[in-house]
């Protein structure tokens, strides 16, 4: 069977980072890295950017305006009611609902954004390259078409990979 990928499996973070640094140095392209917990050096240097925090800010911004506008439209413009002589545009008490619903909107919208951008939704069929990557193994994935596999394999072995698999 033709194998497309080369997998370097590491037993701990140090050896993984050593291999990762060396491969970056030698400009071997890494397709992806799978780890059981976030390893920050890799998250920073792998070159992928996440704009989810920025997007979250905009969700909040628009939600605030949206909720306030809705409250003012319904309570002041559409059907103003006199509650014991209080002003219909009771701005301070609108703020409570605005804050809560803004938080609510940010949560729901960024969850969906996360699900969409990180490609996570129920009954996903994504290839799982190595079962141990969610347990105690750290896996570097190299695409054979994009990188020199011979060099990659030798770097992996040199830095202490437990095994190098072709898949």
């Amino acid at each position: 069977m033709d194998s497309e990928y080369l997998l370097g499996v590491f037993g701990d973070e140090e050896t993984l980072l050593a291999a990762f640094r060396k491969m970056k140095e030698q400009e071997i392209e890494i397709e992806d890295v799978f780890t059981p917990y976030p390893v920050h050096e890799i998250l920073e240097k792998q070159g992928r950017k996440s704009r989810i925090t920025i997007v979250g800010w905009f969700y909040g911004f628009f939600a605030t305006i949206g909720v306030l506008a809705f409250l003012i439209y319904t309570a002041v413009i559409d059907w103003p009611l006199n509650y014991g002589g209080k002003p219909s545009n009771a701005f301070p008490s609108f703020l409570v609902i605005t804050i809560i619903l803004t938080i609510f909107s940010i949560t729901i919208l960024s969850l969906f954004t996360f699900s969409w951008r990180a490609n996570l939704w129920p009954s996903q069929e994504k290839p799982i390259y190595h079962d141990g990557a969610t347990d105690d193994k750290f896996v570097i994935l190299v695409n054979k078409e994009k990188a020199d596999t011979g060099m990659a394999a030798s770097v992996m072995k040199e830095t202490g990979a437990i095994e190098v698999i072709e898949k």
């Binding site: 992806d32 976030p38 989810i52 209080k86």
Partner: protein
Amino acid sequence: MYNTEVRGPLVLGNKSLAQITTDITAPVYARPKFWWIVGLGISSILMLLGFWSIYVTISQGIGTWGVNNTVGWGWAIINFVWWIGIGHAGTAFSIFLLILRQEWRSSINRAAEAMTVVAVGCAAIFPALHMGRIWDFFFIFPYPNTRGPLWVNYNSPLFWDFIAISAYLLISASFWFLGMIPDFATIRDNTTSKVKKAVYGFFAMGWRGSVGEWKRYEGLSYILGGIAAVLVVSVHSIVSTDFAVSVEPGWHTTIFPPYFVVGAIFSGFAMVMTLMIILRKIYKLEDYVTNSHLDKVAKILIFVSLIMGTAYLTEIFLAWYSGNEYEIFTFFHNRITGEFTRQFWIMFVCNAIIPQLMWFKKIRSNLTVVFIISILINVGMWFERFNIVITSLAKDYLPSAWASYTPTFVEIAMYLGTIGIFGFGVLLFMKYIPMVAIHEVKDVNRYQLKKK
């Protein structure tokens, strides 16, 4: 990251990564134990009792409760506030401590969040039924309708409450679920059972731990953590405005929002303590939820108990200092002495005095005593709500309208029912979901491995 040497290791026993996985996921693979099935049976019976009382309340009306024109809020509101208070622990734990970078939170936050979700669900039952005609529940949503369109009153704390509680339930549930995704993937990849692989695989949603996933996961955690921190304070502040904006003696005070928030965190942490002592014992998680974890929670309880005591004394002082005869009557002749003396002093002793025993290291490290104290705190917190709700309503400005209140069996059954729901939910959680956040513990553990 701070040096853990000062505080001692967070995970004991020099665990390897694989060991952490097997230790924590063991209950998921093991067959249910006898006590677990018994527990599930007892909570199911309580739950059925609760469903019966809900049925009676809906089919016959609020008249089956002991509430009357004077005491319009009875056990239902007491229990509502009590459950919401307990539910505060999850957010306080996972979010306040996340923002404060307290790494020791990661062994406890999963269980605390599970508790939150179940407790808030229990709480929501009471006000919904207290509305009376629950089939008209949708009137509370602001939607274009044929009644005008008549919109809801945005100035009413009762409406704020509805928004706050439903948002809180959804947000804490999503935060909880988000944290579980990588752990579900761990079970999916480790299990040999096909059913488990399919079910946990469904909820893991294709998680593989890739760079893109972790990066967005962390980003989302920060967003949710940052904004949900507001909820820790806001939800119970809003609950307190249900009381504070009405002109009742003993309710109409500015101290209410912080007083309620602190009370909520107090009862929540006490419940976490109760549950964690049981959990770590049964599932042998002593290496993850260490004595030093419980010691920290105990210290927080001491501190919060001091704030509670201060709040009680502030209320009493201000009632006296204001010179207002109704306030003085409520606090001095209706709570400290008078018809409700017992309830007042149970509250005061359980919340402000008994937790102070934990200043002594000997008492704090004796888990049996700590367990009893943590239960007494929740008893005390229940009586605090009793004090607030019942005493003020029973005897307000007009002596001719004074009345007393005794709960009926329907109300008691509903309370027992929510305890059943809580027990049921927690038992299911213990069996089917990793009780400790596996990936977070691995993350914390690596600093210790590095130092070796």
